[in-house]
């Protein structure tokens, strides 16, 4: 029960505006020492060490570095505005470009902190400069930066494969269509919204001195270098030159090379980029460390057993089970990070699902989709914190909270469609 009270306390205290990471850490400290004594914190060095040795997370600073260099050299701006220009007088071009770039990044990493922050650096300033609505901008970035969870390669799918004993390759294949549909619906949402409220995402100003054809050609030429960088990153993964984590280093070094080519390079620029990277990386990892203290106290005070007991009360009939278990995961996703959910909850649900003859591959995709949504749900959705951490001060937390809502609804819609019409995605709900 202490775990539940702790959630409440954290929620209230977070609102006071003290840094998120240390609010998590501090609340964990009080509840932990009160319930279990100081020695509980002897586990902390081990937990920190496991973050230090988690090489997959190395993608976070490396991708951020790439994003910062692209931003500082204005190459990111060039990429996005050129892509935006391709849409001509159509409003929302920048937002759609952002989603597309997010999708490409998603295909090269499965680490949410990396892509949300990189996207925040690359496209938030550009969107704001072009008078985009703050909520639409932040919502688009959080949602597209979080795509990496479902678009393979994806950490969630790898963990679920491990927990459920499913081959990773099958999971990756099954996740492709849901990912594509999600991206498509994000874009469709932007198109519909901008038709209804064009002022939320103004079209790029057209240059009257040039013909439309000339404009398109110029835009295409401007896109090539940064796009080439993304192709190098993705290409190195697909050809096996680099692992997904390592590809992020190719991206960072590649961005510096681009800067040299475009005569934007200086040692000052590299140093300043490193400084920004360190600061943003520290922000992301401080949250991870605060959160690990929090989840440590939660589980060592018996929160995990309590959860197990609750889960055993789920109904034993197929549809009721599916719907309720999805709801439970969605709600818990507000509070607990996806790794915990995968390890605590999935092993309890899996045997029940299996006994009902539910196709585990399908079930795993549902869970992955659902866990991705948990990154986006206020107030604890980590993607929201990450973006806030790199956003200019005029973007308020509440803007981000409100901006993400339409995208959460889209996530739920896609989740529901996979539940009801698995055959659309080339799956079946039973064996």
């Amino acid at each position: 029960m202490i775990g539940m009270i702790m959630f409440g306390a954290a929620l209230v205290l977070l609102m006071l505006g003290f840094p998120v990471a240390f609010t998590f850490g501090g609340v964990a400290l009080f509840f932990g020492v009160f319930a279990e004594g100081m020695d509980l914190f002897a586990f902390m060095p081990f937990r920190i060490m496991s973050v230090m040795q988690n090489k997959v997370l190395m993608a976070v600073p490396l991708f951020i570095f790439m994003g910062v260099v692209l931003q500082r050299t204005r190459l990111a701006e060039q990429l996005l505005t050129s892509m935006g220009r391709l849409f001509g007088g159509l409003p929302g071009g920048l937002a759609i470009s952002t989603i597309l770039v997010g999708a490409l990044l998603a295909a090269s990493t499965g680490v949410v902190g990396a892509s949300v922050v990189a996207m925040g650096l690359i496209s938030l300033p550009v969107m704001l400069a072009h008078k985009y609505d703050k909520r639409l901008s932040t919502g688009t970035i959080c949602a597209s930066g979080t795509l990496g969870q479902i678009v393979p390669p994806s950490i969630i799918l790898i963990i679920l494969g491990d927990v459920l004993g499913l081959p990773v390759g099958d999971l990756f294949k099954a996740a492709v269509w849901p990912g594509v549909v999600l991206i498509g619906l994000y874009i469709a949402y932007i198109l519909v919204l901008t038709r209804l409220k064009p002022e939320t995402a103004p079209a790029m100003p057209t240059d009257n001195t040039r013909s439309r054809k000339r404009e398109i050609v110029d835009a295409l030429i401007a896109i090539i270098p940064p796009l080439a960088l993304i192709v190098v990153v993705l290409g190195s993964i697909f050809t096996g030159i680099a692992t997904p984590t390592e590809s992020s280093a190719l991206g960072g070094v590649g961005a510096v090379v681009l800067a040299i080519i475009y005569r934007q390079f200086s040692f000052r620029m590299v140093w300043d980029s490193a400084r920004d990277t360190v600061k943003v990386t520290a922000m992301v990892f401080a949250i991870l460390i605060g959160a690990t203290a929090f989840s440590m106290v939660f589980s060592y005070t018996g929160g995990d057993y309590l959860l197990e007991d609750w889960l055993h009360m789920l109904p034993g009939e197929e549809w009721g089970f599916i719907i309720l278990s999805m709801l439970v995961i969605l709600v818990l996703g507000f509070f607990i990070d996806f790794v915990e959910i995968s390890f605590i909850i999935v092993p309890i649900l899996a045997p029940v699902a299996e006994a009902m003859g539910i196709n585990m591959l399908w079930f795993a995709i549902l869970i992955a989709m659902n866990l991705q949504t948990s990154f986006l749900t206020p107030p604890f959705g980590f993607s929201l914190f990450y973006l806030k951490g790199v956003a200019p001060p005029e973007v308020r937390t509440i803007d981000i909270y409100k901006g993400i809502i339409p995208f959460i609804l889209i996530q739920i819609l896609v989740l529901a469609s996979i539940i009801i019409f698995p055959e659309w995605y080339g799956m079946s709900s039973t064996y």
Binding site: D39, V56, I155, T239, G240, A242, T243, P244, T245, Y300
Partner: protein, 339 residues
């Protein structure tokens, strides 16, 4: 006094290196806990925390040492970087088979030597379940000569990795989460994992055709760690119960491994006809055998205790293998001839 002592209940906390519900390994710790509780009529309860809870799969040694956990379920060779002599109590390349090694532990000097290694770290260590002979790994191309191994990038950790390195392989670190992708896309050329039952879960059979037979870990023995203070607090009967529960569940894991691997292998044979079982060529085996000898000699030279362990294992292997030759090997040979 005896009356109240007999009533005393103990709840011990066990940290395991594996995640929750990890097949076979995790079954073993659960089975041990269940046995201990049943045999003690509920006086000895063991609560298991898996890696998702303590988050320190390779901190089990330190946590049990410091008393943060009473018990651990892990593998001794993981601690080789901390205490080099722990290496010898899991399985050695070209070493004993499971039955031979159990004989060394329980009836030879194995157990005493193991306690001598763990004693300075305030712990006792017991055999914790055997995987049987581990497979030599999944390769994407066939190995026909020593030359084919030169520069081959392989995920192969620990001492076996050192042996492979001696014959020209480049041991490569890849996080487990990226192993499948790395092998699929030729970032690495080969992966060593465990055996059919556990390998099947990672899907290597979908992307690699050559499954090599094992030599590097002929009898991987897990371990139960016990914090010494905890051990000394337990009354003699509960100590006996704990010891029995550990021993029975360890043997049982060997049996379960045999069963699960046989099932998984049947499955692979049927569903993945691409998979071919291969032996390394003789010159490769010979080179690895020599490399192993050389490395063992180096390891034994490090200190007196290491030297005694290596000597004990060598002597025991000589004796026990001579018997294996006229029993198990002779029988399997006979079977081979009549089939």
């Amino acid at each position: 006094a005896t009356q109240s002592l007999a009533q005393e209940r103990f709840t011990l906390r066990l940290a395991e290196t594996w995640g929750p519900n990890f097949p076979i390994f995790g079954d073993t710790s659960k089975r041990m806990a269940k046995l201990a509780e049943e045999m003690s009529d509920g006086r000895l309860r063991i609560r298991i925390d898996s890696a998702n809870k303590h988050k320190a799969p390779f901190g089990v040694f330190d946590m049990v040492k410091a008393g943060q956990y009473d018990l651990g379920h892990s593998a001794s060779y993981y601690w080789k970087g901390k205490v080099p002599e722990t290496l010898f109590f899991t399985s050695m390349p070209f070493g004993m088979t499971a039955i031979e090694q159990y004989a060394w532990f329980y009836h030879g000097d194995g157990m005493d030597l193991m306690q001598e290694v763990y004693e300075p770290h305030n712990m006792l260590s017991f055999p914790g379940g055997n995987t049987g002979i581990q497979m030599g790994g999944w390769f994407r191309k066939e190995i026909n000569s020593l030359e084919d191994l030169k520069g081959l990038k392989m995920r192969i950790p620990g001492f076996a990795g050192e042996v492979f390195a001696e014959v020209g392989v480049s041991p490569t670190n890849i996080p487990p989460g990226e192993l499948y992708t790395a092998l699929e896309r030729n970032t690495i050329d080969a992966v060593e994992w465990v055996g059919p039952a556990l390998d099947l879960r990672l899907g290597f059979q979908q992307i690699a055709d050559y499954y090599y037979t094992g030599w590097h870990e002929p009898a991987t023995e897990l371990q139960f760690l016990v914090n010494k203070d905890t051990w000394e607090e337990l009354p003699a009967d509960l100590q006996a119960i704990l010891k029995t529960a550990m021993r029975v569940s360890a043997y049982d894991m060997l049996v379960q491994s045999q069963h699960a691997n046989a099932e998984a292998w049947a499955n692979i044979k049927e569903e993945y006809p691409n998979v071919q079982i291969k032996n390394f060529p003789e010159d490769v085996f010979q080179a690895m055998y020599d490399a192993n000898k050389k490395l063992l000699k180096e390891a034994a030279g490090r200190n007196e205790l290491a030297a005694r362990i290596v000597e004990s294992q060598e002597n025991y292997l000589d004796k026990t293998r001579a018997y294996t030759d006229i029993s198990t090997r002779a029988y399997l040979n006979t079977m081979g001839e009549v089939e």
